[in-house]
Symmetry: C2
Subunit: 325 residues, 2 copies
């Protein structure tokens, strides 16, 4: 089996590669070849025959070249993130819309019975406030960012190309991915991970919002699991509604901190410094918090049961089992 | 005020032009100029300074030329219809997606404070079965045709360009437009109009489905009214959810026929011949039937109250007040 991953150098891409390298197979078939595509070079796993390609999917001919090798499964993770899509309108539409469409068109034009699985990372940014208490699976798509709009369009194209029989698509709307390993970034949502990651590394973290803020989280390991599970779904069972809101652990910031106390102790928790930031509080107030994810759960997608588990996975997967007590 | 209408040669376009020619104004401002755009020449009204342009919005430079004159209000009705978008995949996406995007981009690139109103005809085809008893305003968008997918994408682009401040968009999802004047066409939905129009013209009409089939209808006059009302909406009152399901008369085929009996008599009704067609019955079974349209009604959009009114409007507007008894 030949697997193509776009956006392979990103965090979710890296976690997916680790997972596939561990499994050595997908859907019971051995992985013969991996193509890792991104605008910067991704890192090849040691134990799979890997080709690394750097280019931009929105450039002419790039998608055709990638698809000419007829990968069996395509994980399409590439994209401009939320903040950049908002500040650079042209780049967001070029990468997130034209790049997606180029990929789908390249697949369609192969013809000759070629019908790969295409697993697409969408986002809960497809939903826009005001929200009900918990967002049902059949809630309308009214994004309030250009990134969210581009994800709605990507989902819609994927569903139509699937319905027309050009490919087998599954779109997965990721919840907040926590704990993100690595350095703090400038995303407004960065604190959800930072208040866990930094204290575990012996560093101080700033909490800019109040403890009653609610969010839904899944670990990077769970995100890789969603992708692998999506590739295994029976299209008959999935039906025409191929875009799914993924499950996660819904909790308050206060509950995140309590979980950190249980898992790592009071000294670690004491490294969180409260410094309310009205600007970030304003942004976060417009974000969705809670999802039913009824269909995804029924289709076998699983996330962690508790935020304690999410912290333990970070310690195991990203910190080698250790943290600064 | 300068008004641009794309798709001006189509049925809804013609009805809108008649309405504007009657009003001579829009939102209380006199209409100085009308630009009628379509792939075939539209018909100018006698009493407004009109430019007629024939071209394809998906061709390079066409949208820029149209927008260079800075129309104040743009009614974007142009598009490939449902059946053609399904049989010609490339043409559907080229006209319905690229054409729309070209128009929006041409507007954005004018800059300099130019911010026209853009009224876009979407469709209830944005919804896909299975449906609840009545489709709420916040129901998700899961189209089951390429046309429906293209309308979802058009709505999403319109909302994002509006949110970003490049224009003031309103998308209106039209219900079934009945009674369509003119010759029978090949659309699977043609019988909804034909069973009224043909008997009133002294011709036999074939009813291919059972009398308990439910649909939501508005007259061509109501469709023109939706467009004019959309152009008058206060953006503050509308908020970010700019795409609206329009109201209509929800009734069964049996109720349509009863209305025809009341308005035109038994002899007219006797020209309807029942000839069940399993193929058409299968298609119609997947269509949406009933809509809440709560927001549109609250925002002042109105359709007819009864199907009797819809028939009377057809007789008044398209038959000069007469029919074959």
């Amino acid at each position: 089996m030949h697997i193509l991953i776009t956006g392979a150098a990103g965090m979710v891409g890296r976690k997916l590669i680790e997972r596939l390298a561990g499994d050595q197979s997908l859907n019971g078939q051995p992985i013969d070849k991996l193509t890792l595509f991104d605008v910067v070079a991704a890192t090849a796993p040691q134990n799979i025959n890997t080709t690394i390609t750097t280019a931009d999917l929105s450039d002419d001919g790039v998608a055709q070249t990638l698809i000419a090798e007829r990968p069996d499964v395509i994980f399409h993770l590439a994209g401009v993130v939320s903040g950049e899509a908002e500040t650079d309108f042209d780049k967001g539409y070029r990468v997130n819309l034209d790049g997606m469409r180029n990929l789908l068109e390249a697949i369609r034009h192969v013809g000759d019975g070629y019908k790969p699985k295409v697993i697409y990372t969408s986002s809960i940014a497809v939903f826009g406030a005001p929200f009900p208490h918990s967002i049902p699976d059949d809630f309308h798509l009214t994004p309030l960012t250009s990134y969210g709009a581009q994800k709605v369009i990507g989902e819609t194209l994927l569903a139509d190309y699937t319905r027309r029989g050009f490919l087998q698509g599954v779109g997965i709307r990721l919840p907040g991915i926590t704990v993100r390993p690595g350095k703090p970034n400038k995303a407004a949502s960065g604190f959800y991970s930072a208040i866990i990651r930094e204290p575990l590394a012996g560093q101080e973290a700033i909490l800019p919002v109040s403890e009653d803020v609610v969010n839904t989280h899944a670990s990077p390991r769970a995100a890789a699991g969603f992708l692998v599970h999506a590739a295994s779904l029976d299209p008959e069972k999935l039906g025409p509604r191929i875009n799914l809101t993924m499950p996660g652990v819904c909790c308050t910031i206060g509950e995140q901190i309590e979980a950190l106390r249980r898992v790592a102790g009071e000294r670690v928790v004491s490294r969180i410094r409260r410094e309310p930031d009205p600007f970030i509080m304003g942004i976060v107030a417009g974000w969705s918090t809670r999802f039913d994810a009824t269909r995804a759960r029924a289709l076998g997608f699983t996330a962690e049961d508790t935020f304690d588990d999410i912290i333990r996975i970070h310690i195991a997967d990203d910190l080698g089992g250790n943290f600064v007590r």
